[in-house]
Amino acid sequence: MKAIVCVKQVPDTQGKVAVKADGTMDRAAMATITNPDDLNAVEAALQLKDATGCEVIVVTMGPAPAEGMLRELMARGADRGVLVSAREFGGSDTFATSQILAAAVNKIGVGPDDIVFCGRQAIDGDTAQVGPQIAEKLHLPQVTYVTDIQKNGNDLVVKRQLEDGYMEIKVQTPCLLTCIKELNTPRYMSISGIFECYDKPLDVFDYNTLKDDPLIEADTIGLKGSPTNVYKSFAPPVKGAGMMVESVDQLVGLLNDKHLI
């Protein structure tokens, strides 16, 4: 039994966001973190490991430095890491990203009692699309916004958050779950974990590793294989910092002119 967790290294958008002169984000100037929802996904997998002794594999797509994040997650208790990294994969939108990650998960292999975990969404894009798209590519049932997981053999009973409550859903393994922060509190790295993490296996899946998977085609991955493209990107107009208005009338007029109300 395996728990395969898809994780993403993201710029810390809660902190200082650096923007280049051309309006794009200066990733190099920003601190990176493991995407917060993904830490809940890792924790869910580690709790499954605590209960069943299953293997926990963390998978990420990104540039070489993302290895650091995988090592950190192994220090928290994951057993091995997979870094999916190739020039051909660059520029992928959520569709193309899910093709590649699904191919990577296929390479690892999804057995009948395995679970694929993802965070609900990443804080840099906030799309919540990659999890369900991976599930579709792997032909796995999915449950998103998971706040509770009870496992009984191959049956899982999970709670799925709704805006005003929750659904209780029975799903069988193999399946894909996307996790939110209400699910659990991620554990810290342990001292022994930190010592061990560099001895744990870390595989790099490059283009050649995955190219034979039918999901990997020139027109399904990377910038060229992405159905969506950025047409324009722009910064919001500069905020009128501290503009004082004299009356409610004036304020409502301004808001209306700017189509804010």
């Binding site: 710029p11 699309q129 324009k232 808001l255 189509h259």
Partner: protein, 368 residues
């Protein structure tokens, strides 16, 4: 699927809105999306269709979708569609899309829509843009939009002339905006958060002439790999600050009449389709529960509009809201630091300013 998506994009016609129902009730996001979809359909000169999935949904509710702009409604009725399941809804949606070939599909970015959209987009081999805040097909209208909302020099920028859906959304936590297109594949899919688009007034004539096509889907229990055991409502509704389009927060300034201050904030939030937030002072005092707290130790929000009522603007609070697109501050103290981050500030007593604000916004909304 390859054959489907390799077809000429011109073969796809019409704008669709997925009209979400829960427990037989059409969700208000559906009306917002139909109102927006109507504009796009008009610009394209095509039909606007609502898609409802459910079991025994009241026909009056379905016809009412015509009053919000739908020319046609596909109502897919099956006991298997009573409650949302990814498998059931995605199969029905994808089958219908492949049969009817719409060029645009809009889905509400609810917890269900954000589950359905990507599953369908992946199956249909097309693009999906999440949480759009603005949609255009017409280039001139898009340019007008950029003039008021961006730093782009519109007159000295080249724009391709086409009717691709231009889907604008915040990127990187709202620090940048990006307009996304999906030029090679159809349908062009987009999710929009509740409250972002405005509902147009109900039109009786539209409701009278809408064409409802009731469809029995080719769906069996074997197609659905999950089982809904229960659907429970929370005793207490948690406030969705993070996803909110508008946040109206209260601070220590409400202390002279806490109940009234909160009631005013709730009313203002209601008018703007937003939710109520709070500073730490308010949640520490127990005036509102901690899920309302905005700030470094609470939630970081970046709504389209943030209204700070009686909040001084301590750094820890500002850290949680400074990236809001437009910040409006009301405070009695003219030197309150909140005014340094506010787009618009009014010095005054919130108990006087807010009722006036509510009244005027209501008047504007009625006139629009």
């Amino acid at each position: 699927m390859a054959e489907f998506n390799a077809m000429d994009t011109a073969a796809f016609k019409g704008v669709w809105v997925f009209c979400e129902q829960r427990e037989g009730q059409i969700q208000t996001i559906s009306y917002q999306l139909l109102s927006e979809g109507r504009k796009l359909a008009n610009d394209l000169g095509v039909e606007l269709c609502g898609v409802v999935m459910g079991s025994g949904v009241n026909e009056d509710y379905i016809k009412a979708l015509g009053g919000y702009g739908a020319d046609r409604v596909y109502y897919i009725d099956s006991p298997l569609l009573k409650d949302y399941t990814t498998d059931g809804y995605a199969k029905v949606m994808c089958d219908l899309v492949m049969e009817k070939k719409p060029e645009i599909v809009l889905i509400g970015a609810t917890n269900l829509g954000r589950d359905l959209g990507p599953r369908c987009a992946a199956r249909l081999h097309t693009g999906l843009t999440a949480d759009c805040t603005h949609l255009d097909v017409d280039v001139e209208k898009y340019k007008e939009f950029l003039r008021t909302t961006s730093n782009i020099d519109v007159d000295n920028t080249k724009f391709e002339q086409n009717t691709n859906l231009k889907m604008t959304r915040p990127a990187f936590g709202g620090h940048l905006m990006a307009t996304i297109i999906c030029p090679r594949f159809r349908p062009q899919m987009s999710t929009v958060r509740p409250g972002v688009m405005q509902t147009q007034p109900f039109d009786e004539a539209g409701a009278a002439k809408v064409v409802v096509e009731k469809i029995t889907p080719a769906l069996t229990a074997d197609d659905i790999h999950v089982q809904i055991l229960d659907i429970k409502k929370s005793a207490k509704k948690m406030v969705d600050l993070i996803g909110a389009d508008v946040v109206v927060s209260v601070g220590r300034g409400i202390s002279s009449d806490v109940d009234k201050g909160i009631a005013l904030a709730e009313e203002l939030a209601g008018v703007l389709g937003g939710v109520v937030g709070a500073s730490r002072a308010v949640t520490d005092a127990g005036w509102l529960s901690s899920d309302h707290q905005v700030g470094q130790t609470g939630k970081t929000v970046h709504p389209r509009i943030y209204i700070a009522l009686g909040i001084s603007g301590a750094i820890q609070h500002v850290a949680g809201m400074q990236d809001s697109e437009t910040i409006i501050a009301v405070n009695k103290n003219e030197s309150a630091p909140i005014f340094d981050v506010a787009s618009y500030g009014i010095v005054g007593d919130l108990f006087k300013v807010v009722p006036e604000l509510i009244k005027e916004i209501r008047a504007i909304k009625a006139a629009n």
